[in-house]
Symmetry: C3
Subunit: 434 residues, 3 copies
């Protein structure tokens, strides 16, 4: 049987950390006080008051107190989930005991914070047996404070080789009666510490891409009904780089990412949602170039593709140093191979509705047509492509829609921005399709 | 001990699915009736009458009947193996029970089909315990119908994270006395459903490359003596793309691929076999360009490499924005670094024969020479390279030959086409080398 | 708890194999006799008299004798560790028995070699149970010869799918009382045999990149406190290719590599150490181009970036077909995005010292500034970048320094060359930082 998803959110786009206590400020809780009041696209799906690496070790007891005071005041109104990160280390019993103490303190119902806290984030976990130790502390704390067993979620930061190996054990371990690992929620990669743990070196000191870690995290999440989140992207000004990273993650099934600023939260909240308008891409020497939409035509006016008419239904096409003489049909064929289409939310909803109608009418597979007028180097070409949709295509296409629905259901504070972006009509149809 | 390969075929190049029952046709079995009569390079190594995704759910009982009627009529003459795909789902006991019923029906010897069926393909498997449930149904069916236990092969479609994880358990589980998992034959990736299961998103809706899944499938197959097959490539007209995918797969040890049409079968049957003639490649700014063979010389006449004589034994070479003044020896050295050679079947057989003779004469390693005359930008250059061959090189080079021999032995219907392609002499020598 | 590293060396840069017995020479031990006398950067961290693949099967008994005679004579003075490779095969009990006999012979203290031998390299291992068989032979041999149990290290060559799978079991198995697997030291990939075992094919016969194998080896090493080493790079003349491979490995946490010649040893000993001088890279259409340092400025004079002044504080920048009009601030910003810096050993030591001082002063994170004057297409631009350093950044940056310290401590024969390269002052500071 598939492990059921046991939490409210099936998707988490954003995991935003804020330091719990900053030295030298009038109000040491300033950062989390400000973060607690974020709304709309700048507010994350999961907010993480960070009492670990973002906060100096000497400030962490004060940080635990700040978590309590800020969440008891602002937690009820916060639009996303709240999961504080507390200290933990697979190699340090002292740190684990500190975790237990902070847990006991923060989860005390008389302090009025735990009512608004959805769970806790445990960093620096090791083998699965180490995960169980953290789980057990949470169980004891739930029991001490009269909270239902398993009601507090637990998310972990995967930042060691042994934690990566543990990802393969989750499915088997989560069912065992001697633990409450069903409380697991997010699997978050922590590439800085992972790089240290793996003793990896890059010439510039930048992080390695860690393709396999991200795959294994996403696979572990999929197999155990959890949610995979990528680690921090610390080149904060580099928005294009952040987007490329997210696109790469999404192709791995890792739909969420850490955010370090409200600006990053906004980018990351929008990234996995389909675009407002569709666009055509042209493959120019291995680079995907987006064509400009002008008067219903898609225009390429760069220098790397040359196209000219050489006679009646004869064309000369030059791409990538390769010159070819083609008739109209071959030209269309060639351009079909070189182009691809990024569907908008509206396009996806259209296709799904069309397939649902066909299924209703007893058909198992239908051809979806997509056509466009291209203007390449001044020459106009019509292209049209059929893609077969069957049940599997339909279900795979559904992921961004299910995500959209999950967002819309749980984040009323984003309704206005979403409706402004897509239009009310598309939003309404997207909420009933699938 | 290495797990022995227990099946007739040690290699499978092609896995061709056909819908078992199509609605609205006079003969609903039309597609499989036609497929059953394919011969030669258009006939697959493994033919899969597909009573799962390719056939509408409402047609699957008729599909099971069609399988029986077509295979009982045409099965004896079919040149490849026959492995129907039947329904299964890790999350649905109802689907698993339907699997059992179809199995019982198709495997009944009185229906005269099972005699020509080599095994069954089970889709949508989950954990290894789920694989065992399917294995157990086949065992019961074998027993009910008086077939030898373990005589029916079982292949699975890996299309979930948990099935990917199960690939690491095969070696250990296959030896256990409480199952008959030794019947396992093919491990086939199913990337469409896998993408859905992993909840991955790409902007265009295209499939992610899933590098790690393919590696893990190939590794699982290697460790358990099974055969790895890649999933469907649904851009049917894109032959170049299909070839690139196969080359990529082959470098992972995944030598077979799904085919959706007889045209794809032909391409995929030929792809892992060595070429008829060898060719030289030139690395031009990271792109491998095949040189034209003209009058015994290999010619590059593109614009991205410039070479000229600047004096007695002096040359100017311009590649990738990098201009260098070189003497003849340095030029040769430079071009050696930039070129590589793709050996033909004949070349590989030559090298193996040479190494075998050297080994006979007591040598452990010999240098294999390869030389050519290049004509770059009008300048003629002789290059010559030595590669050391030892036992390990010899054995690694042997894979395409072993594959060739497996094909030739089991596919008499392809002899004529193979001899036409390579010449009888090379084919004869390829069959005795190694 | 993290598994402790139990061996003297925490890092191994080089694994150099030499044939133990060559036929047709006056002195069949010639190759290992010469290798035993290497010193300085040409001497490896781990030297491997190779009585397996590098030596013809018929010469291996003589090879075992040669190992004894050469190591008893030269072993005491050899500056690196000595780990002979002896025969083994997961599929051949005869080969395993031969392993046992050679072990008994070489480890006999009366032969005066074992005193200088740090451990043995076992090739062609399979499942973890196969590793245990080799471990058990070494335990028996230690006992027979009065050596402390576990005192001989064991390194393995990972060259089969089952050995790759075993990498995930190490952490759990190494603790068990019924084995002495704590003796494990190096995990070495053997890509030639692995390619054969995986039945992979590439058109030219070159080795596939095997990204996942290298990741899994590095991860297994990290999880079990061992050291990961990449396999041989057999294109010996291709120094650039060898360096690219090492850079790729290092980003995976695999800091050591096999060497086939003293020339390769030298390259591989130097590769993971930080450079003598820092350098700036410019991203030119996806290629990283190193800028020339001239009179304190970093100069790009290629043709692929065009920059000109178009007015007061106005610039026109053309990169990758993309032309932009920018003011000075935007230009600086743009160039910051396109450049990156490779720090020297001195730079790293500086940054670490600075962070250590800040930590002492109670700060958890500080900004590290890096600035430079660029000269692009004749236009001078000042750039300056801040990077936040916290404890995690500090620790990740520490890996090359810890490696440097490990090298300096264990390889006095390289002191002179290191001091010549970096200067005594930097070397001294590098030894006390961290």
């Amino acid at each position: 049987m598939s492990l059921e998803r046991r939490h409210d959110r099936e998707f988490v786009r954003t995991f935003f950390t804020s330091p719990t206590a900053v030295e030298g400020e009038d109000d040491s809780a300033k950062m989390i006080r400000r973060a607690a009041q974020l709304r709309g696209m700048q507010a994350p799906d999961v907010w993480v008051p960070d009492n670990e690496d973002a906060t100096a070790p000497s400030m962490r007891d004060e940080g635990a107190e700040n978590i309590i005071s800020v969440i008891s005041e602002h937690g009820a109104e916060f639009p996303g989930e709240i999961h504080p990160r507390i200290v933990w280390h697979r190699d340090s019993p002292a740190t684990r005991y500190q975790c237990f103490e902070h847990l006991l303190e923060i989860a005390d119902p008389e302090r009025d914070a735990i009512q608004h806290i959805d769970g806790f984030v445990i960093p620096e976990v090791g083998d699965i047996d180490d995960w169980k130790k953290a789980d057990e502390f949470i169980t004891i704390v739930e029991n001490e404070h009269g909270l239902a067993e398993g009601s507090l979620a637990m998310s972990v930061i995967v930042e060691s080789a042994e934690a990566e190996l543990a990802l393969a054990d989750l499915r088997e371990e989560m069912g065992k009666p001697s633990n409450n690992l069903e409380r697991l929620f997010l699997l978050v990669d922590g590439e800085v510490d992972y790089t240290k743990d793996m003793r990896a070196i890059t010439p510039t000191g930048g992080l390695p891409p860690w393709e396999e870690l991200r795959h294994n995290t996403s696979r572990g999440a999929s197999a155990a009904g959890l949610i995979a989140i990528d680690g921090p992207y610390d080149d904060i000004r580099n928005i294009e780089g952040y987007h490329e990273r997210m696109t790469d993650n999404q192709a791995k099934g890792m739909l969420g990412i850490w955010s370090l600023t409200p600006g990053q939260v906004k980018e990351a909240n929008e990234s996995p949602l389909p675009p407002k308008t569709g666009s055509w891409l042209l493959d120019v020497n291995g680079r995907e170039v987006e064509l400009d939409a002008e008067d219903g035509r898609y225009v390429y006016d760069g220098d790397d593709v040359t196209l000219e008419t050489t006679g009646d239904d004869r064309y000369r096409l030059l791409v990538g140093g390769d010159e070819r003489e083609l008739d109209g049909d071959d030209l269309t064929e060639e351009l079909l191979d070189l182009t691809s289409y990024i569907p908008s939310l509206n396009d996806i909803v259209d296709s799904m509705e069309e397939f649902e109608a066909a299924k209703e009418a007893g058909k198992g597979a239908i051809a979806m047509e997509r056509s466009a007028t291209l203007l390449v180097d001044g020459v106009e070409v019509e292209i049209s492509t059929d893609r077969m949709w069957d049940e599997a295509t339909y279900q795979a296409a559904q992921t961004p829609i299910t995500l959209f629905q999950d967002v819309y259901e749980h984040r009323p504070d984003q309704h206005e921005e979403l409706e402004e972006l897509y239009g009310e009509d598309v939003v309404d149809r997207a909420m009933v399709v699938g």
